[in-house]
């Protein structure tokens, strides 16, 4: 019987194309929208994690409390010992990267050695030179390099392309960093600009300078000392689990603090933060999840409304068929059941087509991206200028389930009229044609 009904569905475009189109459009929109939202949001999270917060961050609490001042004197000493501890006391799938956040004045001299231009810069020192370092790959630095090379020699730096433009510097230009050392003294060290980077984040392109970790340690007198340890999970690790891992590390840290490395200051208290604890990302994630559910909910509801009406229209279109089947002795329940199966079939088919269309669009946006640099130019958000969608299994599920649900529910709501249909009127109705 089901096969027989499906033959009818395929032949009758009016009862097939419209509901399928609705489900297809709805699912495609949900998949694309969720993919886009997920891509923009998770792109922002990833960008923030890669550049700034890590998925986890081990930092000295006194430094964290005054982070905006970049108090290098509150950095965490015993870098090698700390790495060893992290490798033995945290999940083996976390990769730990040492960083130094620093701030300084960047002075550009003219040919006579007088200041030509000068600006405060935000700096990050990371491990460029170790063979086992993932930092270059993690920050996509090779792809982001507009001109020149990465700082692989001594006292070399790369700077944001907009910063380079505003300072009117060229590659090979010698500049001086003026800042504060680990022990509070004034430091001045010369660096050579070897590359211009387009981070893709406007605020960073305007202010950011990257130097090698060892160079920074030499410049700021921070031997065996870093400001941060950033921990990175593999991408398969869901961020909802970060808190558990963080708590476990903090628990272990409490034990370690009782017998600290000898180079630590008395008031050094390293703490672990997850990305959700930093830069208000936790509440942004909650809001994002809520908005996403809301969007999916609205689409489901709208699809259901349209499909309900499509079901009613189909019911009117097939009034004769339904009446005939009732007159021929098909029970109301069986009739509604077969309609439910039709709805399920249309929901599944529409969802598949919708997933293909929405998925293709999302894939395109994932691979090619959408340049929104102009829109973000005045934004302080750490968000890539090229916005990319993200194709995830979750996105498909969030499209398919509402697609099928709305198709079946819409059909069933519409078929309630069949339940009320009285057999006593069938002859009259069928005779009326």
């Amino acid at each position: 019987m089901i096969v027989f009904l499906f033959r009818g569905i395929f032949r009758d475009k009016s009862r097939f194309l419209f509901p399928i189109s609705i489900v297809t459009i709805g699912v495609a929109l949900v998949v694309a929208l969720v993919g886009f939202m997920e891509g923009v949001f998770m792109g922002m999270i990833d960008m923030t994690a890669n550049l700034d917060t890590g998925h986890l961050r081990l930092v000295n609490k006194p430094f964290y409390d005054e982070e905006h001042l970049r108090p290098l004197d509150r950095s965490l000493a015993a870098q090698k010992e700390t790495l060893k501890w992290l490798e033995h006391n945290t999940n083996s799938d976390i990769t730990w990267a040492p960083r130094i956040r620093w701030g300084a004045l960047l002075d550009v001299p003219d040919v006579n050695g007088n200041t030509k231009s000068q600006t405060p810069v935000v700096g990050m020192a990371l491990d460029f030179k170790s063979s086992d370092s993932f930092e270059i790959k993690r920050l996509h630095l090779v792809e982001s390099l507009l001109k020149g090379k990465l700082p692989l020699g001594k006292n070399e730096m790369v700077i944001g392309n907009q910063l380079a433009h505003s300072l009117k510097v060229s590659l090979g230009q010698s500049v001086t960093l003026l800042g504060q050392s680990f022990d509070g003294g004034l430091v001045a060290d010369n660096y050579t600009i070897v590359g211009f980077i387009k981070f893709g984040v406007t605020t960073m392109d305007k202010k950011m300078v990257l130097i090698d970790l060892i160079d920074a340690q030499n410049t700021f007198y921070m031997d065996d000392t870093v400001t941060d340890w950033l921990g990175y999970f593999p991408s398969s690790f869901n961020f909802t689990n970060y808190v558990d891992v963080k708590n476990k590390i903090n628990f272990n840290l409490n034990t370690w603090i009782k017998t600290p490395p000898k180079d630590w200051a008395k008031d050094d208290i390293p703490i672990t933060l997850s990305i959700l604890d930093q830069q208000n990302i936790g509440s942004m994630v909650k809001t994002f999840t809520l908005i996403k559910s809301f969007v999916v909910g609205i689409f489901t509801f709208l699809m259901m409304l349209v499909l309900w009406n499509a079901g009613v229209l189909s019911g009117i279109h097939r009034y004769g068929e339904m009446g005939l089947r009732l007159a021929f002795g098909e029970s109301h329940w069986k009739l509604i059941f077969t309609l439910g199966i039709e709805g399920l079939f249309i929901g599944i088919l529409g969802s598949i087509v919708g997933c293909i269309i929405g998925g293709t669009f999302t894939w395109y946006l994932q691979e090619i991206g959408l340049n929104m640099g102009d829109a973000f130019s005045k934004s302080g958000l750490m968000i890539n200028d090229v916005v990319r969608a993200r194709l995830t299994l979750d996105g498909f599920i969030q499209g398919i389930i509402p697609g099928i649900f709305s198709s079946v529910t819409g059909t069933l709501i519409a078929s309630l009229a069949i339940f009320k249909r009285s057999e006593a009127n069938l002859f009259r109705e069928l005779e009326a044609g």
Binding site: R7, D12, E321, G323, E423, A424, E431
Partner: protein, 227 residues
């Protein structure tokens, strides 16, 4: 041998129309025998369709009892009534009511599928009945490609294919010209004799009366003659 198929005992049917009661049938006593070929005749509103509804288990009487063999129809649940129709009753409508998206073959197949039979087990049966109504060369066509007479033949085949004990035909010739009407009536008569299914018409077409074995006249919900 008891060949009583349907019996009415003091059956009345009253409809509520607004605040008024409309009596469609009054104290009807009637028997329909197996294999009979009969009709209800009478003007509009005389109660013909209501009688067909009651016989077909589409409606229940306000008072009195209707029996199918020994089964009291009014005691059946909605589902049992559907089963009764599914297994025992074939319907033929004035406007054919063929499903436009299905072919001749598929329209005739439908009642068998509703009875839970598989298509591959009944294919020959459908082809056989299509051949009996003379439409074998049209078997793959859709209703829109057929004439009115051909459509009614399909409807007859559809009613007969499940081998019912009773066929209810409401004005089956009303939409046909004289030539087609006669052909249809001859076909129905022939199939009635062949299949032994009782055929009950409701009609005011005089041509029908020439073919039937029994004619029951109705007026204002009462039987005025039975000949």
């Amino acid at each position: 041998m008891n060949n009583k198929l349907i019996s009415f005992h003091e059956v009345s049917k009253i409809f509520k129309v607004g605040d008024e009661n409309f009596t469609a049938l009054r104290d009807i006593n009637l028997e329909i025998k197996t294999g009979s070929f009969m009709s209800f005749v009478g003007p509009s509103g005389s109660g013909k369709t209501t009688l067909l509804n009651l016989i077909g288990g589409l409606d229940v009487p306000t008072s009195g009892d209707i029996f199918f063999k020994d089964i009291k129809l009014s005691s059946l649940s909605r589902n049992m009534m559907a089963k009764y129709r599914r297994e025992n009753i074939g319907f033929i409508f004035q406007t054919y009511n063929l499903l436009p998206v299905y072919s001749v073959y598929e329209n005739i197949l439908l009642p068998l599928l509703l009875n839970g039979l598989k298509e591959n087990t009944v294919r020959e049966r459908v082809i056989d009945i299509v051949s009996k109504v003379g439409l074998l060369d049209q078997i793959k066509k859709k209703p829109s490609q057929l004439s009115g007479g051909q459509c009614q033949r399909v409807a007859i085949a559809r009613a007969l294919v499940k081998d019912p004990l009773l066929i209810l035909a409401d004005e089956p010739t009303a939409n046909l010209d004289s030539k087609n009407s006669l052909q249809i009536l001859e076909l129905m008569k022939e199939l009635n004799q062949q299949y032994k299914a009782a055929v009950v018409f409701s009609t005011h077409d005089e041509k029908v009366t020439r073919y039937i074995d029994r004619e029951i006249g109705l007026e204002d919900g009462k039987i005025i003659f039975d000949k």
